[in-house]
């Protein structure tokens, strides 16, 4: 494998201004995606508790939180891979032009998945089928979704692979996933996801299995390619600093409840929810002197518990926190669910 794949290719691409100074998407457009009161139950557990957020066309949104927060669950519900009757689902997911898809049958989802909504997974080496060549995996959707012929699909596949920075694309088509490095595999995943020009790209921790320098490459690639297609993107992330760099808006989740949501520059700069603040306090910057870790604990998913799920780990918890769930209300440029927010 040649080490120098993309140096020149990347440098010559003209970067959207967004990557340096961000551009705000045109205001006033209908949101591409609107999620309201989305609850998801699995058996006795309430995994998502009335999640609500919306996403503008061309914008990027970050779902933030620790493991068990329900971030990936939301992503899977948004692409119709978690549906009734496997799980209980209520609320609405409104995708522009399709209406509410929460109860859409498999047949309707088949027309959305890989066409209007696409997804990139956490570990590309596991998300590519080990038994099929790269070419087969990228050409199958091209032929099935776009109806391209064999040779047209091949040409398009090579273009796509080149656009995500894979050099030597024609010969990569006959390679198997394990023959590529982790970064290359993730590039292939991105190429497959973008092949049908989706409106919404879901990226579930796309870089957590990669080295930092490769992480920067991949995040930039995703941003560039979605902006170029004026597609929206939802990142599932655990790193708040990274989210501040690549997301317009963020949704902070704890135990399946939205605790704070709004523009990332407002929410992450001056968090008002104690949990957001605590998460931010765990991020190590190079001058971090003191860490103030949260006490250990994990949220309970029992559907009966009425209050804020963060209450038992929260230093600012009041008596009513455990008793009544705080509503998500607009406060100082963001939406917040807390009875005793930070000033």
């Amino acid at each position: 494998m040649k080490p120098l794949d993309l140096g020149t290719a990347r440098a010559s691409t003209t970067l959207p201004a967004a990557l340096g100074g961000r551009i705000e998407p045109a205001a006033g457009t209908e949101p591409l995606l609107k999620v309201e009161g989305l609850s998801l139950t699995r058996g006795e557990s309430l995994i998502l508790d009335e999640v609500a957020f919306s996403l503008r066309r061309g914008a990027t949104l970050g779902l933030l939180g620790e493991s068990g927060a329900g971030k990936s669950t939301i992503a899977l519900a948004l692409i119709g891979l978690l549906r009734k009757p496997e799980v209980g689902l209520s609320g609405t997911i409104t995708l522009d032009g399709e209406g509410d898809v929460v109860d859409a049958p498999e047949k309707a989802w088949l027309k959305l998945r890989g066409r209007r909504v696409a997804m990139i997974f956490q570990d590309a080496s596991a998300a590519l089928n080990p038994c099929f060549t790269i070419g087969r995996q990228i050409m199958t959707p091209l032929r099935r979704v776009l109806g391209l012929g064999r040779s047209a699909a091949r040409v398009r596949a090579i273009e796509l692979l080149e656009s995500v920075g894979l050099n030597d694309a024609p010969s990569r088509l006959s390679a198997y996933p394990h023959q590529l490095s982790g970064g290359m595999q993730q590039r292939v995943m991105i190429a497959i996801a973008l092949s049908s020009n989706p409106d919404l790209l879901l990226a579930d921790e796309p870089t957590s299995a990669l080295d930092v320098t490769i992480q920067a490459q991949i995040i930039r690639l995703i941003l560039e390619e979605t902006r170029r297609r004026s597609a929206s993107c939802i990142f599932v992330l655990h790193d708040l600093a990274l989210a501040s760099q690549c997301c317009d808006d963020v949704v902070v989740l704890y135990g399946g409840q939205v605790v704070e949501t709004g523009p990332s520059r407002i929410v992450l700069d001056a968090p008002m929810h104690p949990y957001t603040q605590a998460l931010k306090g765990c991020v190590l910057e190079f001058d971090t002197e003191e860490l103030e870790p949260l006490p250990s604990g994990a949220p309970s998913f029992a559907s009966k518990s009425p209050g804020c799920r963060f209450a038992d780990r929260c230093a600012r918890a009041l008596d009513k926190c455990a008793a009544t769930k705080p509503p998500l209300v607009a406060t100082r440029g963001r939406k917040l669910a807390c009875w005793n927010p930070l000033p």
Partner: protein, 296 residues
């Protein structure tokens, strides 16, 4: 003192093994039923003289080949007028004794060969590996047949032959377990601490090998019973007139067109025992092997 929040979250206390099995029986009704069936077989085999209506070799001159539900012979008699229920109850003795005995021999042999192959290196390992390969090259039944042809017939010989035939499969799994455990970080960590090699083997490797071996052994009991009754069925295992199920089925085969119960009674007993044993074995394995548990 370091000021760190004390992690007081209560993780579930690890249940003892017996409690684990009881929980298993409660959650899995098949396992519960199968355990009871196996227990019944073991009990009636142990107390055969008390349970059995007749001695197994007694011939009732008045009732040759009488069908089940005849007076005095609940499950009928065979061509010699021997009571089938009595013979089947005594037969359980042979089936279980051979099954457990053979598995014991196989597991012990497998443990020795497998641990030796897993821990040694170089030429020794290579030679042991080829030896295991050679043991595995013959299906257990055929290997047992070959041994029987050398040892001759008889219960003790069947136990030995089937047991030796099981050494191959056992040593393969033991060796695989040893290799897997040997590569674990805790073995390396003990080495770093300066713990001696023998102590590492004794304290860290063996406990992690013997436990899965015990699980394997419960699974293989039914296999051993199957192979040994197969031997008797072929007429080269236990010698007549021993009330062995395989022998009884073979005898009944000749009369299948007009007295199907002669093969049917011992055959059904054998089938029930084998099925129950394998449910118990599967249950134990699923319970103790976290990899399999989620497959349900």
């Amino acid at each position: 003192m370091v000021d760190i929040p004390v992690d007081t979250r209560l993780a579930a206390r690890r249940p003892t093994r017996l409690e684990g099995l009881r929980a298993l029986a409660r959650s899995n009704i098949y396992f519960a039923i199968a355990s009871i069936v196996v227990a019944l077989f073991i009990l009636s085999a142990t107390f055969a003289p008390l349970v059995s209506p007749h001695p197994p070799l007694d011939q009732d001159m008045a009732a040759f080949m009488s069908p089940p539900l005849t007076e005095n012979h609940m499950l009928g008699t065979d061509s010699f007028g021997r009571d089938l229920l009595a013979r089947t109850i005594y037969g359980a003795r042979y089936a279980l004794a051979i099954g457990f005995g053979a598995v014991l021999i196989g597991a012990l042999g497998g443990l020795i060969v497998g641990v030796a192959a897993g821990l040694s290196g170089g030429v020794t390992e290579w030679a042991l590996m080829r030896f295991i390969d050679a043991l595995l090259a013959l299906p257990s039944l055929i290997m047992a047949i070959a041994f029987i042809s050398i040892l001759g017939q008889g219960v003790d010989k069947v136990i030995l032959a089937v047991g030796v035939a099981l050494i191959g499969p056992f040593s393969r799994t033991v060796r695989a377990d040893v290799l897997q455990v040997k590569a674990q970080a805790f073995v390396e960590a003990a080495g770093l601490m300066g713990v001696k090699r023998l102590a590492i083997i004794w304290r860290h490797i063996l406990p992690n090998v013997i436990f899965p071996l015990a699980v394997q052994a419960t699974i293989r009991v039914s296999y051993a019973v199957l192979v040994s009754s197969g031997l008797s069925f072929l007429g080269i295992g236990v010698a007549p007139p021993t009330p062995d199920w395989g022998l009884m089925i073979a005898e009944g085969r000749s009369f299948v067109s007009f007295a199907p119960w002669i093969a049917g009674v011992p055959g059904t007993a054998l089938a029930i025992l084998l099925i129950a044993l394998s449910i118990v074995g599967d249950g134990v394995r699923e319970h103790f092997d976290p990899k399999l548990r989620k497959q349900g």
